[in-house]
């Protein structure tokens, strides 16, 4: 394909991605270093209170935001350096608590709270999703042919459902004297309230995410299982391999590229965990990095949006993405070079 035709085909897509994905990244970087604030002016005002014979008047100097001719507050944008980053990261407090190992104090700073949850969430759900997906795939693979279609249909439901709604539907099972809370209370013979403390909400969030993503892992693995070579399996049986050995030595190596694929996708997706916080309304106890940015962007009571702080939080979130993707990207670059040479 000639270069010009190539550009013609991919041009529109590149334009959209440059304008709405790459562009905003630069804009976020710039915004994170600048602060937009109203210009304050000092006004000398005379305040009079009624008194006997004559009014008592005092002059005082007040600070007011300056209004433009149209009655809007005039704002100015200043270079602020790393001020927004500092207000998020609070380095002095961090060092103090870190050196004294006061982890619960550290958890009071929103950014570290969000970071802690996002990382544990990502790392705990990954193995559970992989194992559950594999187990379902192996079970479906031996189930009767006529059951497979319906099982796949049912499994797809948690996957396609709107994440906020999925989280809400699980919340409704547990909220108050919800049906499952009652069941667990009966089983464990003790009072349970799932939404009173952070760690129980966290368990629900992990459970929701596994429920939502395991179908994806299952379907990818199930497709992979269809291509396992039967000859290899049969010769393994002839060699006397047990079921476990066949799984470990034949099936898992065959699935390993798919396991890597599912892992990368899952890492990318669970790193941006957000809808769970909305659906479970956990913001008082548990927050995530993406929710932190979202919350800074929502106008506060006075209608201000903390754009520069949100941008700083975005930049910090992106550092995580780069760390997450650097190894898979290096790997595919090497494969690409090998392909070119060979």
């Amino acid at each position: 394909m000639k270069h010009r035709t190539f550009i013609g085909f991919i041009g529109p897509s590149l334009f959209l991605m440059a304008l709405f994905i790459a562009g905003p990244l630069f804009s976020v970087f710039w915004q994170s270093l600048h602060v937009t604030q109203p210009i304050y002016i000092q006004v000398e005002t005379e305040v009079c209170t009624p008194g006997f014979l004559s009014q008592k008047c005092t002059t005082e100097i007040q600070t007011q935001p300056q209004m433009g001719p149209d009655g809007k507050i005039i704002t100015e944008t200043k270079f602020a350096g790393f001020e927004s980053y500092r207000s998020l990261l609070k380095p002095e407090l961090f060092l103090k608590h870190f050196s004294q190992q006061e982890w619960s104090e550290l958890n009071n700073i929103n950014f570290y709270k969000a970071l802690r949850f996002t990382l544990t969430f990502t790392l705990i759900t990954l193995p559970i999703v992989l194992i559950l997906g594999l187990l379902i795939a192996l079970s479906v693979n031996q189930a009767l042919q006529s059951f497979r279609g319906p099982i796949i249909f049912i499994s797809l439901l948690p996957f396609v459902i709107t994440p906020v709604i999925g989280a809400l539907s699980i919340r409704w099972l547990f909220v108050g004297d919800g049906i499952l809370t009652t069941l667990f209370e009966w089983l464990l013979e003790r009072d349970i309230s799932m939404f009173a403390q952070g760690w129980t909400i966290e368990i629900l969030m992990l459970g929701y995410r596994v429920w939502h993503v395991a179908p994806f892992a299952f379907i990818v693995f199930y497709a992979g299982l269809q291509t396992v070579s039967r000859d290899t399996l049969e010769s393994a049986i002839v060699d006397g391999a047990t079921r476990w050995q066949r799984l470990r030595l034949v099936i898992l190596p065959h699935l390993s590229p798919l396991i890597l694929f599912v892992s990368i996708i899952h890492l990318m997706d669970s790193y941006r965990v957000f809808e769970e916080v909305i659906g479970f309304r956990s913001e008082a106890h548990v927050i995530s990095l993406q929710w932190l940015t979202y919350d800074l962007l929502i106008p506060d009571d006075t209608g201000n949006r903390l754009i520069s702080r949100a941008s700083a939080s975005s930049m910090l979130t992106m550092i995580g993405i780069i760390l997450l993707l650097i190894f898979p990207l290096r790997r595919s670059w090497r494969e690409h070079k090998l392909l070119k040479r060979g």
Partner: protein, 382 residues
Amino acid sequence: MQQNIEHPKSIQLSKSLKLLSNGFLGIWCLIAVFPLLWITLMSLKYPLDAFSANPLVVIFGPGTLAAGASINLFDLLMVILWVVFAFLGIKRWQAEKILGSKNWLYLGISIGWLFAAVVFTDLSVALKELLGADFFLMTPLLGMTTEHFQSVWIEQEFYRQFLNTLFVTTGVVSISLTVGTLAGYGLARSGSNWAFWILMTALVFRALPHSVLVSGYLPWFINSAEWLRPIFGDAAPTLYGQPWAIIVVLASINQPFTIWMLRSFFQNIPRELDEAARIDGCSHGEAFVRVIIPVMWPGVLTAGLFSILLAYNDYLVAALLLDAQNQTMVPAISGYFNRETTSTDQVEAVAAAVSITAPLFVLVMVFQKQLVSGLTQGAVKG
């Protein structure tokens, strides 16, 4: 993938293992479907039944029954018949891929049934008078009410949000498919280093949290009337709150995924096909139009389904870039749970949630095969 392999005896599981594995599957299916099934049941009951701790109360709804809202055997049979017709219609459509005369019959009956549902209530009442309330078809069976759905859709005008979602979803799908198909084809047929780098950059873009991108847009969108004035004059629009602005944003965010998926689809279409057309004297563009477009629809359909899911399920972008008047369904539901003060409000929130889920249910029902092939063949999930 669907090929049927009968395993030889030696690979088959022992009885106990088979039982274990089937039991596990049963439990998984129950877990997968239970929350959705349960909220559907809840949405059909009055609050006292819906939030009862006793599961039997939620299923049979005695409180709702006592309040006079119930369905009898006749209604239940009608509903079951409708479900069976709709199911058969979809199954036949999936099997034959064309709408033959018989399929039209099924489709017509099931849609007609839906409209008749409005008439049913009258029919049911008329029959009740004719046969007497004691007739076995007419005795109230289950407590059930559609009151909350009526209140959500009619009184609280949820259809407005539905129309907004419909508009946004249609827009996103058409833009992202048009642009993505061209790019996917270009990338599939070009072996240059450029193509590799574009794909890798797209992968990084795909990993970006949407909130990062939105914090980039937000100030520009709010102040757009100012910086667009030199171009558009006084007619310069404020992009904040405009559904079409959201459409472009979501279509762009969706591009990385769409081009990956369509590229891998086009790679499976043999190169010889368009090369033959090129030998006959077509340019690349003509070859695309004459040879590729006729065979690309299965792949486009699959990519389209994932675009629908992205646009329909989006919370964050719409919540931040749209104002309350133009809100789509998913962010609007947070309005319900913010004012969840009375228990009726809570059941209405459940009814709104069920309303949002229903179209997705139909989507999986009709396009199960395409969704599965998209998950397995496309390199990246949406």
